[in-house]
């Protein structure tokens, strides 16, 4: 039987790793992630978690250790944020290219320069094209659930997954979390089985130089070229959403909380205005929606739980019939707009004929508090544009001060 504990996001992530019986942990401290390896060190030193804990000298090495340990069949774990994640960048590509089912919490934090230790999502959004899947958590319960789901999904598809959650806002905030029993987690997440063998009789040469055209193997059969490998990674992503939905439903059957839907939805059924957000912003947007509803605005929220692979079809159908969508983001692709806004527009374009007003608001960078008044302003601003007043081309910055 499970129990309910009051935990911070970081404690939850560490406990999730333990429940997933991770075998190799390699981590390097960075605020606001540091508590995760600290708690895991306690588990390991107390003998509660039989894992190899490598106290690496950098995040580049943390991911380097995870990559090679995963290659020989261990279930591996690391966690990082901000500059630590950026420092891993080369290794992130390697991990995805090597098709390793690594799971890594990212406690979202702003990147320097100038320094900030506080929350935004620039760090993980900037890693969008590394080939990793990205899950985003709304609250601490989702950190636990999505970490367990992430291992199952990653191992099914051989694609690594970042489980992203807001630094401080979740990492350091205590919330009740329903903790499943070890038996329940074991039933959902069987031990990881390497899809090849490491033995002396049949040696393998893993990730060598690959040519631009397929070459024959010793048996004369054509082996993939570089592009062939890249395409397979994309195909794994393309096949992932139904897998995530199936596993999310199965998760719900065991644990009582279904993740069949890649989208968090709040009061959206009859909505003609929506906030589109990710992470803990979704719950702040939900509070604002209640205010708007009281004012008679038919408002709702869509929050993305899965950003890569991008649930374009689900999103396009979730917003069909909506007149205005305010995409509120804690990240910006400099020189254009927030990545989520761009993705939404692309999804709408492909979904043919849907042309709601889409506005984009950059909020909360470097830990800046996102107030209900900010979100109300975003909503009103969007609704004015729905009514045909002038449109703004660039994202609007809310709360940036001077």
């Amino acid at each position: 039987m499970g129990q309910t504990l009051i935990l911070t996001g970081n404690q939850t992530a560490a406990l999730a790793a333990k429940l997933c019986r991770v075998q190799v942990i390699a981590a390097y401290p960075i605020t606001p992630q540091s508590k995760i390896p600290e708690v895991l060190s306690e588990y390991v030193e107390k003998g509660e978690l039989p894992a190899e804990f490598v106290r690496v000298e950098s995040e580049h090495s943390a991911m380097g250790v995870c990559i090679s340990a995963s290659m020989v069949g261990a279930r591996v774990f690391t966690a990082t944020a901000a500059n630590g994640l950026a420092y891993m960048h080369e290794q992130l590509h390697w991990a995805a290219g090597a098709r390793l089912p690594i799971v890594m919490p990212v406690t979202n934090r702003g990147l320097g320069a100038p320094w900030t230790i506080l929350n935004d999502m620039q760090d993980s959004i900037a890693q969008r094209d590394t080939g990793w899947m990205q899950f985003y958590c709304l609250n601490n319960q989702e950190i636990l659930d999505q970490t367990i789901l992430a291992y199952r999904t990653a191992e099914a598809l051989l694609v690594p997954i970042m489980v992203c959650f807001d630094g401080f806002r979740l990492s350091h905030t205590m919330m009740p979390v329903e903790i499943p029993s070890q038996d329940e987690v074991d039933a959902f997440l069987p031990p990881y089985r390497l899809p090849y063998t490491i033995d002396a009789q049949n040696p393998v040469n893993i990730n060598p130089v690959v040519m631009t055209d397929p070459l024959p193997d010793p048996a004369g059969e054509l082996a993939p070229s570089y592009m062939g490998f890249r395409r397979r990674l994309q195909e794994a992503h393309e096949s992932a959403l139904p897998v995530i939905a199936r596993l999310g439903r199965e998760f719900g059957e065991i644990f009582g909380r279904s993740y069949e839907d890649s989208l968090y939805r709040y009061r959206n059924e009859d909505a003609d205005f929506l906030f589109l957000t990710m992470g803990s912003l979704s719950s702040e947007a939900s509070d604002t929606v209640d205010i708007l509803r009281d004012e008679g605005v038919r408002a709702g929220v869509i929050g993305l739980r899965v950003f890569r692979p991008f649930p374009a079809h689900q999103l396009a159908s979730a917003v069909s019939g909506v007149k205005g969508i305010a995409v509120v983001e804690k990240a910006i692709s400099y020189g254009y707009e927030g990545a989520l806004a761009t993705e939404l527009k692309a999804a709408l374009f492909s979904a043919n004929g849907l042309r709601p007003v889409v506005t984009n608001y950059v909020v909360g960078l470097g830990g800046k508090d996102v107030k209900p008044t900010d979100l109300l302003e975003a909503a009103r601003d969007t609704l004015t544009q729905v009514d045909g007043a002038s449109r703004h081309e660039h994202p609007k910055w809310l709360g940036s001060g001077v």
Binding site: E52, S61, A69, I206, P208, V209, V210
Partner: protein
């Protein structure tokens, strides 16, 4: 301890036809390294000439398990292999990390220092051809003073070679050795010994490179031998802090005979711009180090 050629294992772990340049010093040593470590070895290496030796997918001339990793992370990769194998109950593999001088003296130093400080159970080999050869003979911190490279094309490198072995000694290693591919028996013995020791074992392997150094491909072994006979490379091992000369360096210490460095320098294109004064300075540096090592080895 030494092994006669006839006693070496007959098994080969490098099949003929590797993609290294003609006369490359690397496969000579690698062959004996793998003979010493045997089939229960898993190795990891970054981008370097060794990657080329390991061949192009889907074929490889290497008959042991091998993993490629990123340029800065060879020791981290080896750490991961060791941790992953241990965590999954396979303690019978020797984990070998092997990187060039660029991947060790320069970019790999952080990961290696971290792994060595943690006492990670791996054998780490830096094969040193004294430049970034794979990318076209650019200067590294292992390039000796007086050498021309493609990034020191007109003014030969002014700074002396980094004393990397001393940096590794500062990590309190259970086993540390130097070797040169011109002496495969010495290479073999050292890896045989390293295999039986736990913890981080570090071996610096000098590897002559015909295109990078500018000498005829037939002279690789001669060059390697000259590097040792002149004292530019000194063969020794350090077991828990105690230094012992080995092979040719030991017999040189006993006989007191050492060739002038000019014999080694003058047959390499890369040193052709060295002045008499620079050669004398090079000789002074070599003599100084030789004396220090002789004193430590109690000669």
């Amino acid at each position: 301890m030494s092994t006669a050629i006839l006693d070496l294992p007959e098994e080969e772990y490098i099949m003929p036809g590797t993609r290294t340049c003609a006369g490359c010093g690397l496969p000579i040593a690698y062959r004996y390294i793998l003979k010493a470590l045997g089939p229960k070895t898993i190795m990891t290496h970054p981008a370097c000439c060794l990657t080329i030796l390991h061949g192009i997918y889907p074929k490889t001339p290497i008959a042991i398990n091998a993993v490629n990793n990123t340029f800065a992370s060879t020791a981290a990769s080896a750490t991961g292999l060791a941790a992953g194998l241990k965590a999954t109950g396979r303690n019978d593999f020797t984990v070998l990390a092997m990187a060039g001088d660029g991947g060790t003296f320069d970019m790999g130093i952080q990961a290696l220092s971290g792994a060595a400080e943690r006492g990670t159970d791996i054998i780490y080999v830096c094969y040193d051809n004294e430049a970034y050869m794979n990318t076209g003979v650019q200067r590294s911190s292992a390039t000796p003073s007086g050498a021309m490279t493609t990034t020191t094309p007109f003014i030969p490198k002014e700074q002396p070679k980094k004393d990397f072995v001393q940096i590794m000694e500062a990590h309190h290693l259970p086993y540390l050795a130097t070797a040169c591919s011109a002496y495969p028996g010495d290479v073999y013995n050292k890896f045989l010994k390293a295999r039986e020791i736990k913890g981080t074992r570090f071996i610096h392997l000098a590897v002559p490179c015909p295109p990078g150094w500018g000498f005829p491909t037939k002279d690789t072994v001669k060059l390697g031998r000259l590097s040792v006979e002149t004292g530019v490379v000194v063969l020794y091992e350090v077991v828990r802090g105690a230094l012992q000369l080995t092979g040719k360096s030991l017999s040189m210490a006993r006989s007191g005979r050492k060739k002038p460095v000019e014999d080694y320098l003058k047959i390499q294109g890369r040193f052709k711009k060295m002045t008499a004064e620079q050669i004398a300075d090079f000789q002074r540096q070599v003599d100084e180090r030789w004396e220090q090592l002789m004193a430590r080895a109690e000669f």
